[in-house]
Amino acid sequence: MSADAAQRGPDAEAVRAQAASWLLRRRDYDVWTEEDQRAFDIWLEASLAHRIAYLRLEAVWQDADRLTVLRPRSKGWVGPAVRGFGPVLARLTALLVIAVAIGAGAYFYFAQTAERTYATAIGERKIVKLADGSRIELNTDTLLRISSGAKGRRVSLVKGEAFFTIAHDAAVPFVVDAGHYRVVDLGTQFSVKRDGGKLNVDLVEGRARFESSERGNAKQRSIILVPGDTVVATADSLSLKRKSTDSMADSLGWRRGMLVFHHTPLAEVVAEFNRYNTQKIAIADPSIADRTITATLPTNDIEAFVRIAKNFFGLHVTHHGNDVTISQ
């Protein structure tokens, strides 16, 4: 009976399936473009049934972020669903290394001298693939310049953070300049983060040389970095520490769009979210700034953090304009 069918809303099952794939794309994919947003808005406005199905799934899917409290630390998870979870990172790096090996050798791009600038906005991530097979992943709010020529392959990190997977070629060194220091690749995966005068380098795989950029500076000896090494440097201080594989994987969570916190003080959590979002969070009471949180949250999901602040810590959350203030 068509009259009866017309009187009903759209097929609930079909709407649900659409809502689920939108939700997945929006919250769990690495890339969400303005175009996606436009298409999503159109879908959302097309029927009230769409909006409702989306709201319903979103509420539960967001709440499911809390399940992260079940995540065991450092030791492999022993639950039935995810037995043998440990070597994820190892497998992934193996895969990347293979990709690097295939790409090595072909560096037409570097044959001529050229300079290109790549930038990301707040909350944006970008992957730059170079013709030689190297790959640079730019994190939020990052600016870097790539040049190549007689002097080899050079990247200048002006600000922000990037993860480098370098196709090693002894004849054409790959150098990352970052203010006072530079990192010279010796067959490597590493990340460099530049925040004002502070520089942070994590070496994931292979070897790299960390050295002062100033040629005449004989006092500054260079350091060979090995996997697990993490360097924190300012213009006049330098420290080298060892990081566990877990903790290194955690600080690289941004590569899959996640922030990983492990007993992290709220003040730091807020600072991290503020790097990735134009919507800013502030902590009104210093007394709550050092409470710690352990969670894995999408970089763009302030809402998830706010829910945790509200529901787990019982904190007070106020919105004013676009911004959020958290208080006792």
Partner: protein
């Protein structure tokens, strides 16, 4: 064309004069107050609908009417408001059937009774969300559960999950969206007294 002529809310003191409510306010109200009624609503629809297979469509229709009506002003008491809509919807349906069996008409008189049945307490529900989610997770089909655990607990990306499970990202999507829908059904659609690991 949705016929809303039957939606009168005399028992709730609705409607009253009032301005518009913002979309985000309605969204929040809907998630906070309407969704927790789902288990009771589905029971009610299942008992009173002649065609059990379209309960999901009926439920969607109730939600749409409730949302639409809330645009004017949020109701003070959500539960009687939602169940009045459900009742009116069922009456509309019967009116539009070409053949109305006598027992269906008789049953409609008893529909009010269900409105006063105790439903899930949303305060208790909010506090229980984690436990409900955990229990729901246990009940997902194995592959969906694995994918959801990797995504939500381990925080892996879709490509990492695909690698781990030895399947394509497309299939990961399916496991995740299936998991998403089932979690919502288990969290909202299951009566509260049967929650907990089985």
């Amino acid at each position: 064309m949705v016929d809303r002529s039957g939606t009168d809310f005399d028992e709730t003191g609705w409607p009253q004069a009032g301005g518009g409510v913002s979309a985000s306010e309605i969204d929040a109200w809907f998630v906070r107050e309407v969704l927790p009624l789902e288990a009771t609503l589905i029971q009610f629809l299942r008992r009173n609908s002649r065609n059990r297979s379209d309960v999901a469509d009926l439920c969607q229709e109730v939600y749409m009417r409730a949302y639409e009506a809330a645009k004017e002003r949020l109701p003070e008491r959500t539960k009687p408001f939602v169940f009045a809509i459900a009742r009116n919807l069922l009456i509309d349906r019967v009116k539009h059937e070409q053949i109305v069996p006598i027992e269906t008409v008789a049953d409609l008189d008893t529909l009010n009774i269900a409105i006063d049945e105790p439903g899930p307490d949303r305060v208790v529900m909010a506090r229980d969300t984690l436990r409900r989610l955990q229990a729901a997770l246990e009940r997902l089909p194995q592959r969906s559960r694995e994918a959801v655990v990797m995504r939500k607990i381990e925080g892996l990306s879709r490509s990492e999950i695909a690698l781990r499970m030895g399947i394509t990202e497309h299939t990961v999507n399916r496991h995740l969206t299936d998991g998403m829908c089932l979690l919502a059904d288990l969290v909202y659609g299951e009566p509260t007294d049967t929650r907990g690991p089985t």
